[in-house]
């Protein structure tokens, strides 16, 4: 089902949804001296006019699913206790692009598995509805199509929003879910759009995304042995400061550590780019140099994750790690270097 909305319709719909849901949307906000686009909860109806959908947000909404500082509870309370700080108001995320949707899907694979469920993640995830957003132009440094992400269209979210010159199309992908959450009834009365019109818009956009000078030639998973034997990682990653910004902005990086405030156990994001990440208490460190840590970051995304999760890439190609790196270290160049290094070995990816 496709609906057609004016700007006013969208605002009215969000206003209505705010009665029951916490609506989280991208806003242009001042952070230090910079303006950034960040996901924030809508606090009042007036703010609905300032929702900013034009550019790719600076950060993905991952912190709403895996908070950067998450209180797990008092460790003395025991294994049966409920998560400490949990609000059960259902949430709607507006304007999430395909790269960030793919990031959340990757989190689903990792934290809601057959043999293990992370209860903190599961509750936040099941309590959230995502309204996707179709990209109209390529974000800086993005290469999402190289990792199987379609920036223009997405069927994996219950609702998908496409901005037109005037107003929006809204595609309904999952009627059952929307019905269950009481959202469908709020949408049904909107004006209908046609498949043809939406298709025309999608096709036009896809044309704009066709040209890309970066390609990933190897199949996933990248071969693991060669990464250790045939690639000079230092050559391309020597400028890395080890600041970890790439991993903090990455929509798929989920590595974490625990920290304690008295007996309260907390979880915080951690980063494979930090030397302490793997350092044993004895001082021994399996990844003691920065280029080894870079190898870990690249290989986790393009080899280990695909190997462990049915070939799924561990990167969504959003380009943020490139844009945010203080020394302009470009993951695309590291991938190309990796591929060039193993070509000499006669290897074409996928060691099975």
């Amino acid at each position: 089902m496709i609906k057609k909305l004016t700007n006013q319709d969208l605002k009215a719909l969000l206003k209505e949804l705010r009665q029951e849901f916490l609506v989280i949307a991208p806003f242009k906000v001042k952070q230090g001296r910079l303006m950034k686009v960040l996901y924030q909860p809508v606090k009042n109806d007036e703010q609905l006019s300032s929702i900013y959908l034009t550019d790719q947000p600076d950060a993905s909404p991952k912190e709403y699913f895996l908070p950067r500082d998450d209180k797990l509870g008092e460790e003395t309370a025991g294994a049966d206790c409920e998560p400490a700080d949990w609000q059960d108001q259902p949430r709607i995320f507006l304007g999430v692009r395909s790269c960030d949707i793919a990031g959340i899907e990757l989190f689903d694979d990792v934290f809601i598995e057959n043999d293990y469920i992370d209860p903190f993640y599961q509750q936040r995830r099941e309590n959230s509805i995502i309204i996707g957003y179709s990209c109209s132009e390529k974000a800086d440094n993005s290469f999402c199509q190289e990792v199987g992400v379609n920036p223009v269209d997405n069927d994996n979210v219950p609702l998908m929003l496409y901005q037109k010159e005037e107003g929006f199309f809204l595609k309904i992908n999952d009627e059952d879910k929307l019905k269950e959450m009481g959202i469908l009834e709020k949408i049904e009365n909107l004006a209908d759009g046609t498949d043809e019109d939406l298709e025309a818009l999608i096709n036009e956009r896809q044309e704009a995304f066709k040209e890309d000078d970066f390609t990933i030639k190897s199949e996933l998973p990248f071969p693991e042995k060669e990464a250790f034997s045939s690639v000079n990682w230092e050559e391309v990653t020597a400028s890395c400061l080890g600041c970890g910004v790439c991993t903090f902005y990455c929509p798929t990086c989920f590595c974490f550590k625990f920290f304690w405030e008295d007996v309260e156990k907390n979880r915080a994001w951690d980063s494979c780019m930090f030397s302490l990440f793997t350092e044993h208490a004895s001082g021994h460190n399996p990844r003691e140099s920065q280029e080894q840590r870079w190898r870990q970051r690249l290989m986790h995304k393009f080899s280990y994750h695909p190997k462990n999760y049915q070939g799924e890439p561990g990167c969504v190609g959003c380009g943020r790690c490139v844009s945010k790196c203080p020394v302009n270290l470009d993951i695309r160049k590291v991938i190309a270097h990796f591929e060039n290094s193993i070509v000499g070995e006669g290897v074409k990816g996928n060691e099975g």
Binding site: G73, I117, P221, K265, F277, A281, Y304
Partner: protein, 281 residues
């Protein structure tokens, strides 16, 4: 499906044993769950995450066997970092936290009916004890063949479990050799590094025998090399690895060796598996 909220169960320390000379700082802690719920199920070779409340948490290999009369948890801990130092301050009656068990286990079923050789270096004896006590348990002893051990320590002062050794030596068809790094007055056992002693002190069969070894990485390497030189199949050499870990569940990302998570796919690996893994440990 298993849900784990990363929070530990309370356990009481029922006994603390000072294992080594006091300056060498290895203590063995006996623990019992403080709640009424059943004791956890575990297998030899698994590990647990032990919490020192308000300080932190770290992984430790279980040093006890899941036999029918097992009603406590035993871990041996060397004072090394923040958590272990805090744990060493703990006494009988103090409460700590336990979650787990985690990881795979020693291939117990595959070892049944075969001879078993244990080669340990220092505190590497601790995780092996979960299998030694299993194999030598009176109810289970006849399920396994001949047992040989070569236990290496730096000095007589560094020895672990001296209060258990006699019981082990008295088990049927069991021999134990001890070695220290340098000669020492009053020491009438072997002297030298374990890999130099294997050929002379152990009877190494290439068939129908499983070799378990654990110790410092450099010792594991030397021992496995020597065993392979003696014609032992790398599939029959089993060891267990140590890594920094936060979760123990294959999520936090710290213990990767290539695509493997030591906490989930390990910590027990055959030497054949290690040969196929990148050198990242």
């Amino acid at each position: 499906m298993k849900v784990d909220n990363y929070l530990p169960r309370k356990a009481e320390i029922t006994k603390v044993v000072q294992e080594t000379g006091i300056n060498l700082n290895i203590k063995t802690f006996h623990l019992r769950f403080a709640d009424e719920k059943p004791m956890m199920d575990f297998k030899p070779g698994q590990f647990l995450m032990l919490t020192v409340y308000g300080v932190g948490e770290a992984p430790f290999g279980l040093a006890c066997a899941p036999t029918s009369d097992c009603n406590e948890i035993i871990v041996s801990v060397k004072k090394t970092g923040k958590v272990t130092a805090a744990l060493h301050e703990h006494e009988e009656g103090d409460i700590v936290g336990i979650r787990g068990p985690y990881g795979n286990s020693f291939p117990v079923e595959e070892t049944k009916g075969k001879d078993v050789v244990f080669i340990s270096g220092g505190i590497g004896l601790a995780p092996l004890r979960s299998l030694i006590d299993y194999v030598l348990h009176p109810d289970l002893r006849e399920e396994f063949g001949r047992v040989q051990m070569l236990q290496a320590f730096r000095s007589p002062d560094d020895m672990l479990y001296d209060y258990e050794q006699q019981r082990w030596e008295d088990s049927p068809d069991t021999t134990i050799k001890y070695t220290i790094d340098r000669p020492c007055e009053g020491w009438d056992h072997c002297v030298g590094f374990p890999h130099d002693l294997i050929a002379d002190e152990l009877e190494c069969q290439t068939e129908n025998t499983v070799y378990y070894t654990c110790g410092p990485p450099i010792m594991i390497k030397a021992v496995t090399n020597e065993l392979v030189n003696l014609g032992i199949d790398p599939e029959d050499i089993i060891t267990t690895l140590e890594m920094r870990m936060s979760c123990g569940l294959g999520k936090c990302g710290k213990c990767n060796i290539g695509h493997r998570y030591v906490c989930k796919d390990g910590p027990v690996y055959s030497y054949q598996e290690l040969l196929e893994m990148p050198d990242e440990f």
